[in-house]
Point group: C2
Chain length 527, copies 2
């Protein structure tokens, strides 16, 4: 097995100039693992940003096919990591080995999908408006547009997906695909995992001849602030808490040169249960929904944290079974003690609210998280009480009963922005409640029907985004191929000769990509 050095990854080399050390912990026992990491010094943070900046001019200009080869090779290196690697991830996160193996496949699949996007070529956004020398009153000159990478991107991964949303996760893959070198801030919850993955990325970079500095990783608490403020950094990708994400947004906005931040933060993912569906399959919904709430110990951004139904006999029956099922769910170990502490704090706030009632769950105590179910008065949603708006990260959910269709709409209207919004409905519900869809479109990035939001498919059509505070910019997504758009900007070439144009814009269309030529999409060469 590869040794874990604990040194920062800067410009293709390892660096450990600092004197502060961080310890990797066993998530289940809290015991120290035999891995120690050296916090990056301020100079090392700067050096990492500058290494990325040095790599940028060369890296962004590589043919997209070369970057695709790099991503494919990272995927192969990840897939080749041994069982010891899986064991380390499990120890650092308390997640089961099958989950980690599945997440690894998802992560390498994600890298391969971005490689496909690079080969497909639509990310270039190629547009050509040919010269019209004969146009009156003024001739039109030749104008062509395509997109280039923004520059070095700082990426902050999440604790809950130590692979798919971390070191070689979606933000890193999207940035590297876009032609942007990355400086990754290793998550303190899985530093040994991060080191193994970073080493895999560097092996891939070496095998495919990428410039030193294409990927860098730093360890430490607070080093991210200096990173986001570094003038070389041109964009930020973040997955984590509302507090952490908002702090980065504020820092980025306050720079001499403000930069875009895509932060995926807080979502309670409302699930609306419609009457005919409850009548027909209320018991099954109760079973499925409780399984979704506790899946992965509820540690998903898309965990269903709010369940809404209309007062009725079938809703009461559903609620009884849902509470019973939640009572049945075993305690689970969370990602780390910080996550558990924050779960306990969230539960305490719900217990303390006079208009929130505890429905199910053993008293929270010990080292594991116990699933919990609450019922809140609808007035909390109607009055915009902040308690219901921020997610309680963990295996808990809150039920709200509304009086009727009209109150349901008012309650939904009071919600903040969400990653997902789900309807559980039969065909006859669809007929009666069609007016919910436009309302949910305004609230969420992804609308589900008769499914549970905890699965996030990696594909072209996925949106893992949504209005604030789900994310800091509703125009982006951090899962799916559209994620690359966050890190690209358009450049226009006016009257440039073919030899000086990027490949994507040359007359002969050497890349064979679809282009918008004089307003029409075509793969044809330009005469």
């Amino acid at each position: 097995m590869t040794a874990i050095l604990g040194h920062n990854f800067i410009g293709g080399a390892r660096s450990a100039a600092g004197t502060l050390f961080l310890q990797s912990l066993d998530a289940a026992s809290g015991e120290a693992l035999p891995y120690r990491f050296v916090q990056a010094t301020p100079e090392e943070v700067d050096a990492a940003a500058e290494a990325a900046a040095s790599a940028y001019p060369h890296y962004r200009q590589l043919p997209a096919s070369r970057r695709a080869e790099f991503l494919d090779t990272i995927a192969a290196e990840l897939d080749a990591l041994d069982d010891d690697f899986v064991a380390i991830v499990c120890r650092e996160t308390a997640l089961p080995a099958t989950r980690i193996q599945g997440e690894r496949s998802r992560t390498s699949g994600q890298l391969r999908l971005f490689a496909e996007v690079l080969r497909r070529g639509d990310f270039h956004g190629a547009r050509i408006d040919r010269a019209r020398p004969e146009r009156k009153p003024l001739p039109r000159v030749d104008l062509r547009q395509c997109r280039i990478g923004l520059g070095p991107v700082a990426v902050f991964g999440a604790s809950n997906f130590p692979l798919a949303f971390s070191t070689a996760g979606g933000d890193t893959a999207a940035a590297l695909a876009a032609g942007c070198p990355v400086v990754f801030k290793a998550h303190s919850g899985h530093m040994a995992t991060a080191e193994r993955v970073a080493a895999a990325i560097l092996r891939a970079a070496e095998r495919t001849g990428m410039p030193a500095g294409v990927f860098n990783m730093i360890y430490g608490g607070g080093v991210g602030e200096r990173l986001v403020r570094h003038p070389a950094i041109q964009a930020v990708g973040f997955t984590g808490s509302l507090k952490g994400g908002r702090a980065l947004c504020d820092m980025a906005a306050a720079r001499a040169q403000p930069i875009p931040v895509f932060a995926e933060m807080s979502s309670i993912n409302p699930v609306v249960l419609l009457p005919a569906a409850l009548k027909k399959r209320g018991e099954a919904v109760a079973d499925e929904l409780s399984a979704s709430v506790v899946l992965g110990c509820g540690q998903f951004c898309t965990n269903p944290g709010l369940v809404i139904g209309i007062r009725s006999a079938q809703f009461s029956a559903f609620l009884e079974r849902f509470a019973a099922r939640m009572d049945d769910q075993p305690a689970q170990t969370m990602l780390n003690t910080g996550t558990l502490a924050s779960y306990e704090k969230g539960l305490a706030a719900l217990h303390a609210h006079p208009r929130v009632r505890h429905l199910a769950g053993q008293p929270q105590e010990g080292r594991q998280a116990r699933p919990q179910l609450f019922q809140a008065d609808v007035s909390l949603l109607l009055e915009g009480d902040e308690l219901l708006q921020e997610e309680v990260f963990g295996p808990a959910s809150v039920v709200v009963e509304v009086a009727d269709h009209a109150e349901l709409k008012r309650a939904l209207h009071g919600l903040h922005g969400q990653l997902t919004a789900t309807l559980i409905a039969e065909a006859e519900d669809l007929a009666s409640f069609a007016d919910l869809v436009p309302l949910l479109e305004q609230k969420a990035g992804r609308l589900l029907l008769n499914g549970y939001p905890t699965g996030v498919e990696v594909c072209d059509a996925m949106v893992h985004g949504g209005p604030y505070p789900a994310t800091s910019d509703a125009r982006g997504t951090s899962v799916g191929t559209l994620a690359i758009d966050r890190f690209l900007r358009p450049v226009c070439y006016q009257n440039y000769p073919d030899a000086w144009l990027p490949e994507a814009l040359k007359d002969g269309n050497p890349l064979g990509i679809a282009r918008l030529v004089d307003g029409i999409v075509t793969r044809a060469a330009v005469a």
Copy 2:
């Protein structure tokens, strides 16, 4: 001629609750014109934002063809405005009638181009990933994505294009096309113009059955701040000064819910003169460049404010002729006294700098702007002196002489972000200076060869954007059809039945648009 009431436009009606009045002025004489405007009260600002919010759910869901009809009708109403209208614009801005007539055509053409974009349908960003029930280990569910308007947009127009970048200008057209109602802050430099244009928009809204509140306009100083802070506003478009744009960005970032701002601000638009071109046609370049610097009294965002050449006999000869041509240029009236004062301040700073030399131009005095040419020592660029980085809005330019190719690259490297970067070059220059292109790509949104940046074509391939401080977000453009992207966000539908999907995503492809289906662009129906 239509009377000019001077009341705010809120929710399809006129409103004048305030007691503060603003006067329209004759730009040439400074005299009061017989038009008085009532500043919006704080309550009226809120009412305008709320009117836009009320219109949003209905307006965004209209078929794109209906919004296209609205834009076409605004264009027709603009084109139908009478000679009195042109006379008012000329009096308020001191711009000549031919320019205003041309700008009107550009503005109505821009609206019609966005109508074409709506009919073409690529703005929907339709993506379909069909279900794969047979996939192992997990089946894939049907996922579809398209884009919707962000919500009400606050638009701040520019003084220098009272039509094309103002009330019915590019930002308004892009927002309305995207399905976003607009609250426009009337520019204090052309309020009577704004009123006539706003009335034309409202006539078009009425003729095409648009919801009240689809377009609103408020008058006043400082009312924009309250507007940007209003919770209903979901995005901002701005064209103007760096100071003004940055203030709006900071306000938007500090909101409880931060919102995106696209601010087009400051650019000095470097023009690099390469040796073979100077040798072959230095005199012609001197003539053309001086004409570009003084065009429209230099009141363009893309005015060439920095001219760079390599020390040589031909550069000295060019400089001599360029200075002579600049000396020949007559004084011109600026848009308003504020613009003139700011021009005078900019010139004074250049005159005061010990390493800046005055090359041409009569002493600045009186009510008109006199064209000026300066030469700055290259050390100002190499050391990043702020004086050269911010534009002097008006008919002035600064020349910098560099020692050689290497110093040229260092000087360009020191530039901030730009809207444009121009090379004047012959084929043999292209061979020797190919390494400038990637450098300029990193600095600017539009690269020109053998042209002058002051013309900005409205088309699919245009980028009127660029890295900060040219704009607040290099990923956008405020001219050209890509401008619509700033105001759209993606929404994903998971497992939705055909009846509930937006038209753009239905199986049969009723809109007949190009869609990305399972990774392939096609207009075919989905089976």
